[in-house]
Each structure stands twice: as C-alpha cells, then as structure tokens.
C-alpha cells in the first residue's frame, strides 16, 4: 500500500485517538491502543517515512504510559501503611534493625557511662563552648528546658528539630549505600554525641531537668535514627551480598524493601519533633508525669513495632 493511501485511510482514526487521550475515561482506549500498535508495526515493516513512524510511535508511547500508569494512591494507603506495612517491614528486616539498634544504643549507653565517671573526657569530643551551651540549657534554674526560647519559640524549635533530625536520618539511610559503612558512621557518631551529653549532664547533677526534657520524645527520636540506619544497612547489604541477581538489580530490590522503613522513620522523626517542641520543653509539668509519659511512649512504640500488623492465623 502506498504511504499516502495508508495515511488517508487511517488519519481519521488517528485524530480520534489523539482526541481520546484528552478525555478522562474512555472505554475505547485499549482497543485504540492495540490498533495503533498494529499501525506502527505496519509502518515500520513497510518502511514508511520517518515522520509518520515517529508520529505513530509517539502516539503509542502516550497510550502506553496512560494505560499502564500505576495509580498513585500513596496517600489513600496511608492508613494501611501505618497499620501493617511499616511495622511488618521493620520485622521483615529484623537482622538489619537489630544491627543498627546495637550499633546505636550500645555506644550511646557506653559513652554515657564513661562520661558519667570521667566527665573530663567529654572535652576531647565536644568543644568547650558547646558544652557550656548544653550546661546552660539544662540548668535547673532556667525557666524553660532545652534551648532558650520565647512563647512562639515552640514553632521555631519544631522546624529546627524536624529539619535537623530528619536530615540526620535521611543521610544515614543514603550513606548506607557505601556498603553500610556510612550508615554505621552516622549511627555511632550520633550515639557517642548523645551519650556524652547525657553522661555529662547527669554527672553535673542535672539529671532531673535532663530526663524531664528528653523522656517524652526519646523513644520516637532514638528509634527513628536506628531505623534510618537499618534502612541504610538494607541497601549496604545488597552491595556486599547481592545473592543470585546482578548487583544493580539487588540494590533496586533492596531500595524497595528499605523504603517503608525509611518512610516510617520519617514519621517517627515528625512525631518526635512535635513532642520535643511542644511537650518536652514545658517546665511546669512535674517530673514524674513526664517520666511516666516517656515510659508510656517507649512501651507504645515497641509494642507497635513488635506486634502491629501481624496477620491473624486461624
């Protein structure tokens, strides 16, 4: 068939096909798409001119990405994500989660104890000015706990914690790609820093103000950091041991596995920032209430991560 004949026979259909793409839902889309694929194949085997082939190819491409498009129902699935996707994915990657947790909590506790008994060691790690600032923040005589602030300073601190802490988590995750070494670095570095500050303040006798401030948000924030590191280890492990697949494929698979964990960690950072800015800093609430709330949050979070979203076995 001559090209001009082919064009004049089918151009009506192609115009319709273009038109159908504009519409929201058209029942004819799949049939039209197959027709277009057929026309493209014909045009190619008959070696029609490039402009015609390109036109059909593009039309097929637009139909392809329209018909095979995934529904972006991430927001709609939000409930399902917290109900089972997030906690069950944390448990599925238990090895990495335990590894990250121990690389985070062990150095934290060890450095806290070391500094408690040998507070001078802290000056090797943290500058004199920074420690003075920390000392000022948790001084029992000050009106508010944590960083000094005015009334609307809560919002400022919320933004600060959200940006600062979540960025730490994201970096720990991304750095996990360096065979896990980067994630381990971020975990241990932050653990030692937090541990030193804790040990230093307790040694000074500021433990009441210190625990009053940190107890509320400690569960969400510390677990979120550990989970970010765990997500990084999932990536890192796929590089070291890609199993039977190509390394690139293994990494892509690992990224899919790590995504729910890092997205969940992000939500925990968000909650931690909320608590840290609007609850932890209020000095008027008695210490025992704050500690109880802190312990309650720890139990709640651990219970959630261990037990939420398990399927009932009948």
């Amino acid at each position: 068939m001559k090209q001009s004949e082919f064009i004049s026979q089918q151009s009506e259909l192609w115009s319709q096909a273009e038109h159908r793409l504009e519409q929201k839902n058209n029942i004819e889309l799949p049939a039209t798409y197959r027709q277009l694929c057929h026309h493209l194949a014909l045009a190619e085997t008959r070696q029609y001119s490039n402009s015609l082939i390109n036109y059909l190819r593009q039309l097929v491409l637009r139909y392809h990405s329209r018909l095979y498009a995934r529904k972006n129902n991430w927001f709609i699935n939000l409930w399902g994500f917290y109900q089972h996707v997030f906690p069950s994915n944390v448990r599925k990657n238990a090895t990495q989660v335990w590894l990250a947790s121990s690389l985070f909590f062990v150095p934290l506790i060890v450095s806290a104890f070391v500094i408690y008994f040998y507070p001078d060691v802290s000056y090797y790690f943290i500058s004199f000015e920074q420690l003075a600032e920390v000392r000022e923040m948790y001084n029992p005589e000050s009106r508010v706990l944590g960083r000094e602030r005015s009334e609307d300073g809560d919002w400022y601190m919320f933004g600060f914690y959200l940006y600062n802490n979540t960025s730490i988590g994201f970096r720990a995750f991304a750095a996990g790609l360096l065979m896990g070494v980067g994630a381990a670095f971020f975990l241990i570095f932050n653990a030692i820093y937090i541990g030193i500050v804790a040990g230093y303040l307790i040694n000074l006798g500021y433990s009441a103000t210190f625990f009053s401030f940190v107890s509320g948000h400690s569960s969400f924030e510390l677990v979120a950091i550990a989970l970010s590191g765990a997500a990084g280890f999932i990536l890192g492990q796929s590089i070291i041991n890609p199993d039977n697949s190509k390394r690139v494929m293994a990494i892509q698979l690992a990224a899919k596995k790590a995504m729910p964990v890092i997205q969940g960690a992000m939500s925990l950072f968000f909650v931690a920032a909320l608590i840290e800015a609007f609850w932890s800093s209020t000095a008027s609430i008695p210490l025992y209430i704050k500690i109880s709330v802190g312990i309650f949050f720890w139990l709640l979070l651990l219970f959630y991560l261990f037990y939420a979203g398990r399927e009932r076995v009948s």
Partner: protein, 243 residues
C-alpha cells in the same frame, strides 16, 4: 528502529504488545541546567519567605525551617510524582524522569532517587553523580541506579498536520515518476527524510544537502528546488512500499 545518525543514547523498552519504544537519554548538561533552574526557584522561594515571614518573629522562622525541610528533601519528589516526572527545571529544559518500563515514576522510586541525592552530592557539587553519569550507559546518577529510573528527553507532541501532512496533500507530478527507479531504497528514504525535516534546517544546510542529490536527479532532467521538493517527496515516499 530509530536510525542511529545522532549521538544520543536510546533507552529501549518493549511493551506487552510487542512494540519496541525508545527514549533519548538526557545527558549531563541538560540535567545540570535543569538542576540549576530548580535551585534558583528554591532560592527565590526562600528569599520571599524569609522577607515575608521576618515580621512574624520566631514563629515565622519556624515556618521557614519547615519550608526549608520540605523543599530541600521533597521538592523534586512532589513534582516528579504529580507532574509526570518533571520538576519546573526539567520542564523548561524538556526532560523528565521515567521508570524502567518507561512509565511515570511512583512515590517510592522518586523518594529513593531523591534521598540518594545525598550520595550523588558527595564530596561536593555532585562529584559522585558526575562520575556516575559519565560511567553509566544511560547517564544515571547513583540515585537513578538505585531507584531504577532514567532521565529522558520529553518529545514535544507531534500532530498530523505537522510533519507528514504534505505526503498526502502535495500535488502529484507525473514527470517525476521515471527518476524514482534510479534511486536506491536508501537514497529514497534519505530524500523523504530530508523533505520532512526541511523546515527545521537552515538555508545554508539545505543547499549543502541538496547538492548531494542534485547530480543524480539532473541526470533525469529534474531540478529540485524548494517549490517542487514536497511534490517530489510525495512521489518518492509512495514508491517506498516493500510489501
């Protein structure tokens, strides 16, 4: 299917219908330009926010920090997922992100590729990403490799009335018939391609290309000029049938 006459690299996919589709992969400079535009947009937003929120004191500064957090980490994610793989910068440059099936990317892939940006930015101004782009076949940075995504050129939408309409509308001139057989199949398709792309070429380039075919046609007493080119091309295109 696409003649490899240019320096572009094509990422090819095959649809379930058995149709092969290909995408021209965007290289380092177009991606860098898109990134620079996006960066400028974010900086303008920060300046506007900083000025307008400065009257609200610490509360405003808090909002500014929240905006900074959202824009630094999620600006590309929202655009890539909700705007067919195009941030404003990519849209201006004419590139977009697709997944390994050539489809618009989803939340997870977009988050992977943008969180991994941290690695690409090491040690400074995208050093790792730069090396990765140069070393991979499809110009992918580390984030693209991990998420399985490709940055490709977004072709402007073609219309029937544009490129090939003259192939049915141009007048048929019978005196062109005899010379057609003198041209080889390759010469004929090259000639039609030229006619189709003519309006995209500069005058000097047109002259240059016409010189190549002029001797062969003059042998048959046909003088090609811009007036009869399309008529000639129609005749040539219609003889290009092999089935």
């Amino acid at each position: 299917m696409i003649p490899k006459v240019d320096n572009s690299v094509y990422y090819e996919i095959e649809t379930p219908e058995g149709t092969a589709l290909s995408f021209a992969v965007a290289g380092l400079w177009s991606r860098a330009a898109a990134w620079l535009i996006d960066l400028s947009i974010r900086i303008v937003i920060y300046i506007v926010l900083a000025i307008s929120l400065s009257i609200t004191g610490l509360f405003g500064q808090g909002l500014l920090l929240i905006a900074f957090f959202v824009l630094e980490w999620f600006y590309p994610v929202f655009y890539e997922v909700l705007n067919h793989g195009m941030t404003p910068g990519k849209k201006i440059i004419g590139i977009r992100v697709v997944d390994m099936h050539g489809l618009h990317i989803d939340w997870s892939s977009s988050m992977s590729r943008n969180l991994l940006r941290f690695i690409d930015m090491l040690p400074l101004i995208y050093g790792v990403g730069f090396i990765s782009l140069l070393m991979t076949r499809y110009s992918q940075r580390i984030g693209d490799l991990v998420a399985g995504t490709y940055v490709i050129y977004d072709e402007p939408i073609l219309t029937q009335s544009g490129a090939f309409s003259f192939l049915t509308s141009a007048q048929i001139n019978p005196e062109f018939q005899p010379m057609i057989t003198a041209l080889s199949k390759q010469e004929r398709s090259a000639f039609v391609s030229y006619a189709e792309r003519e309006q995209l070429l500069s005058d000097a380039r047109k002259q240059e290309l016409l010189e190549l075919i002029r001797p062969a046609l003059e042998h048959y007493n046909i003088r090609v000029n811009t007036d009869n080119l399309k008529q000639l091309a129609r005749v040539v295109a219609d003889t290009n049938e092999t089935i």
